[in-house]
């Protein structure tokens, strides 16, 4: 009888000991979640442009789809390579690079981690584990050009690029084509600052273009562009922002912004990676995909006719009637 009790107590102990604890390993308690790591470009957070937009996309992913998000800033890692390397070590579902400036470093790290999915926004890579995502900036710039042409009274509009490169030239070409679509006779002034982080330079170039009667200015030059917008505001002229809604930089001057929906790009990358696994390839986001848009028009007496005109041009872009050279 005593043995019976003893074995019963033993059995009980085994049953209770069987309830193994997860407390010893917190990482295992965290359920498998998708994770995205982004290396922010240039000045990083607070650029009120690319990086902030990317952060917006990351926040969307986090809120809507329950992804873990992680990011590195250049201020932190000193080099892009360091940022990519650090994120790759965490083995997220995808490591994303923003902007063509980090492309070389990203490809270097992508080769080192061939099993790791990478993605690059605003540049095109041929590597099999790098998904490339670009915007049809020319389409957005086309609409921006049209808005500038409709607004301009002097029939002279300006464009300031950050650095002469195929990408920025796409902006320039779209801008010019859009303006010409409204008024073939219009004059488009073009300058390149050769620097994305020099508001002063932007200021100078803008003032120079305004002296040449340009009354609507379009900047595709990162932080340099904010100098352009503020210069326009100072002179009481209009400006068009780029990448994000830049109204805050020059509240009285910015009438719209050519929105590059980097947040959409980030969620697009995440969803594509989630669905198809390790991949290369190139995806372009344009008006059609909602990757490109114009911010609401402000600071202008905008008529319904003008609005209709813009909508027509948008349709032309969608059905291929509009041609950008």
């Amino acid at each position: 009888m005593k043995n019976k009790y003893r074995s019963m107590v033993l059995g009980m102990t085994i049953v209770l000991a069987g309830c193994t604890s997860v407390l010893d390993d917190p990482a295992s308690a965290v359920k498998e979640r998708k994770e995205i790591g982004v290396v922010l470009s240039d000045v990083g957070l607070g650029d009120q442009s690319f990086s902030d937009a990317a952060m917006g996309g990351m926040l969307l992913l986090r809120e809507k789809d329950d992804w873990f998000v992680d990011y590195r800033e250049l201020s932190e890692t000193k080099t892009y390579e360091g940022g990519f390397e650090a994120l790759a070590k965490e083995k997220p579902n995808v490591v994303v690079g923003l902007g063509f400036m980090g492309q070389q470093d990203l490809e270097k790290v992508a080769k080192k981690y061939p099993k790791q999915q990478f993605a690059i926004v605003d540049a095109v890579s041929d590597l099999p584990n790098v998904l490339s995502l670009t915007f049809s900036e020319d389409e957005g710039s086309y609409l921006a050009g049209a808005v500038a042409a409709l607004e301009s009274e002097t029939k002279t509009i300006g464009f300031v690029g950050g650095m002469r490169s195929p990408l920025i030239e796409k902006f320039e070409n779209g801008y010019r084509a859009g303006a010409k679509a409204i008024d073939p006779e219009i004059e488009v002034l073009v300058d390149y600052a050769e620097d994305f982080a020099a508001p002063e330079k932007g200021n100078q170039l803008a003032n120079a273009q305004m002296k040449r009667k340009a009354d609507v200015l379009y900047a595709a030059a990162g932080l340099t562009g904010s100098g352009v917008l503020q210069a326009a505001e100072k002179k009481g002229h209009k400006a068009i922002g780029v990448d994000t809604d830049q109204t805050a930089i020059a509240p009285d001057a910015v009438m719209t912004s050519m929105l590059k929906q980097v947040d959409l790009a980030i969620t697009e990358i995440a969803h594509q990676v989630e669905q198809e696994g390790l991949q290369g390839g190139h995806v372009t986001l344009g008006i059609k995909e909602g990757g490109i848009a114009l911010a609401p028009i402000r600071n202008a007496e905008w008529t319904a006719d003008e609005n209709t005109r813009i909508e027509e041009l948008k349709k032309d872009l969608l059905n291929g009637k509009a041609v950008i050279r």
């Binding site: 009888m1 005593k2 019976k4 009790y5 019963m8 107590v9 009980m12 049953v15 209770l16 309830c19 604890s21 997860v22 407390l23 390993d25 917190p26 990482a27 308690a29 965290v30 359920k31 979640r33 000045v43 990083g44 957070l45 607070g46 650029d47 009120q48 902030d52 952060m55 990351m58 926040l59 986090r62 873990f68 998000v69 992680d70 990011y71 800033e73 201020s75 932190e76 904010s226 805050a248 930089i249």
Partner: protein, 549 residues
């Protein structure tokens, strides 16, 4: 181990197991609770910090929109407070796996805070907005930390829930097992009591029915049941031995009294024969006397008629011979009778001795019955105790309660059996004592008889001598008659004497015959007593046969 100890031990073990399980459960739950508290608190801290950072972010943004002293103070105060909060979180953070996020957030925030004085000095809205946007980076790290911490906390809670469920189930399962084990144990326990008690009851019933033939082995137990079984077994054995002894004794008495009765009948018959013979003899003697009387008359004439006298003398001689023979027969019969009487006396004494021993044995039976009565009283007391214990044990003891009432019944039955034995033994003893008295009287009677016989025998022998002497004298007279006429006178005188003696003998013989008749009556009385004894012995035997030994 006694029943009480076994009962208490099984209850104790069950209670210990249940308390142990409950203790274990409480400790486990306590630990989970403390984990829950710690990590839950940390989660709340992270969450609070996020909220404060959002406030700070909002404060900076407001400052960018509308620079004012008030906004400046608020932003700077929040940034100072948050710096302290982040440092505190960093220092106290518990989960090492997630620490990297806290560290990064803290590092980033301290970098951000380095710019705060210049921001406040310059009041540049763009820079301030950028600063607010950079706070988003810290928030992102904190948010990741929050998510991971939250999921860990969730897992912890799920585990706590699982564990609680498992513990509940285990407790239930083990409790059921324990109850089952207890039930089986109690069943076995009750059976281990009821079974032997059933056996004891069966045996006791047999004993009370008088069947003592079953020789049952007491179980090798050290508890009360074992003691009861052993005492019942011992009682059974002793009772049987006593009954066997009584039975054999009464049987022997019966056989003896039967034999004695037969002997007595014989004695009566012999005695009758002897009376007849003595009577005959008396008649013979009278005839001789008469003849002698006539001889005396004749002898007077003998002087003349010697020849005839001689003839008559010879006839007288022949008569004397016949009397002698008759007397010899009588003595033989008397000797036979005396022998039979002596034998009867010896048997009577042995019977009396047997009787005395038998009475001693009845005393032994009474002592035995007293022992049994004592056992019954003890058993009754035990059953009372058992009933109290059973009542105290509640439902678990119900079986034992039934057992206790069975034991009580057994005790009462045993008591009844003992009482019947008592009355039986008393009857037997009364009968025996009466018998013994009768036997003693009979033996005395027989002794008196034997001395009578001896006296009579002596008298007969004397008579025979006389007769023999007469015969010789007659023979001598017959031979001398011829020789002397004068001698005839003396013959006549002698014959006269002889005739007197003969008459005396005849009278003695009548006396003897009367005494013999008395003796016969006494023998008949003895015979009757013997029949009584026989009957009593037979009753006794029947009574003892009632016990199957």
């Amino acid at each position: 181990m006694t029943l009480r100890k076994r009962f208490i031990l099984s209850t104790l073990i069950t209670m210990l197991a249940v308390f142990g399980l409950m203790g274990w459960t409480l400790i486990e739950l306590r630990q989970i609770q403390s984990y829950n508290e710690d990590y839950g608190k940390q989660l709340v801290e992270v969450s609070e910090l996020e909220t404060k950072l959002l406030y700070e972010q909002a404060a900076w943004l407001r400052l960018a929109e509308q620079p004012s002293k008030n906004q400046m103070d608020q932003a700077s105060s929040l940034s100072k407070k948050n710096a302290v909060r982040i440092k505190a979180l960093k220092d106290d953070y518990l989960i090492d796996d997630f620490r990297v996020h806290v560290d990064r957030a803290a590092e980033k925030y301290s970098l951000l805070n380095e710019a705060v004085p210049s921001l406040l000095a310059e009041q540049e809205p763009i820079s301030i907005r950028s600063h607010a946007a950079r706070i988003e980076g810290v928030l992102s790290d904190l948010n990741t930390l929050h998510a991971k911490n939250g999921e860990f906390y969730g897992a912890l809670q799920a585990e706590a829930k699982d564990k609680t469920n498992a513990l509940t189930q285990n407790t239930l399962f083990v409790s059921i097992l324990l109850l089952l084990a207890l039930a089986i144990y109690n069943w076995l326990f009750a059976r281990s009591i009821v079974r032997p008690i059933d056996r004891i009851v069966r045996i006791a019933e047999k004993i009370s029915d008088g069947d003592l033939s079953e020789d049952f082995e007491a179980a090798e137990r050290n508890d009360e049941i074992g003691r009861l079984e052993r005492s019942i077994s011992r009682m059974n054995g002793t009772l049987r031995d006593v009954i066997i002894s009584i039975s054999s004794t009464s049987n022997r008495i019966y056989q003896m009294s039967e034999k004695a009765s037969a002997e007595n009948e014989n004695v009566v018959e012999v005695s009758g024969n002897m009376t007849q013979a003595i009577h005959d003899m008396a008649g013979g003697t009278q005839t001789v006397s008469d003849d002698l009387q006539s001889a005396v008359g004749t002898i007077t004439e003998l002087r003349n008629l010697f020849a005839e006298s001689e003839k008559r003398t010879n006839a007288a001689f022949a008569d004397g011979k016949r009397a002698d023979a008759t007397m010899r027969d009588s003595v033989e019969v008397m000797e036979q009778q005396a022998g039979a009487l002596a034998k009867a006396a010896v048997q009577g004494r042995s019977l009396s001795d047997q009787m005395a021993r038998f009475l001693e044995q009845t005393e032994q039976i009474e002592r035995m019955a007293e022992l049994v009565e004592g056992v019954a009283a003890q058993t009754n007391l035990l059953s009372l105790n058992a009933a109290i214990e059973a009542a105290r044990a509640g439902d678990a003891g119900r079986g034992f309660g039934v057992v206790a009432s069975e034991v009580k019944k057994l005790a009462e039955e045993t008591n009844q059996a003992t009482r019947s034995i008592f009355s039986l033994v008393r009857t037997i003893r009364g009968d025996g004592e009466r018998l013994q008295q009768l036997l003693a009287a009979s033996v005395d009677e027989q002794r008196a008889q034997i001395s009578n016989f001896n006296e009579m025998k002596q008298s007969f022998l004397k008579t025979r001598e006389d007769v023999s002497r007469i015969s010789e004298t007659l023979s001598y007279v017959s031979s001398q008659m011829v020789r002397s006429k004068g001698e005839a006178e003396s013959v006549v005188a002698q014959v006269g004497t002889v005739s007197g003696v003969m008459e005396e003998i005849a009278a003695g013989n009548e006396e003897v015959a009367a005494s013999m008749r008395d003796q016969q009556a006494s023998f008949e009385n003895i015979y009757g007593l013997m029949r009584d004894l026989e009957k009593t012995a037979s009753v006794l035997e029947q009574e003892t046969n009632h016990f199957q030994t």
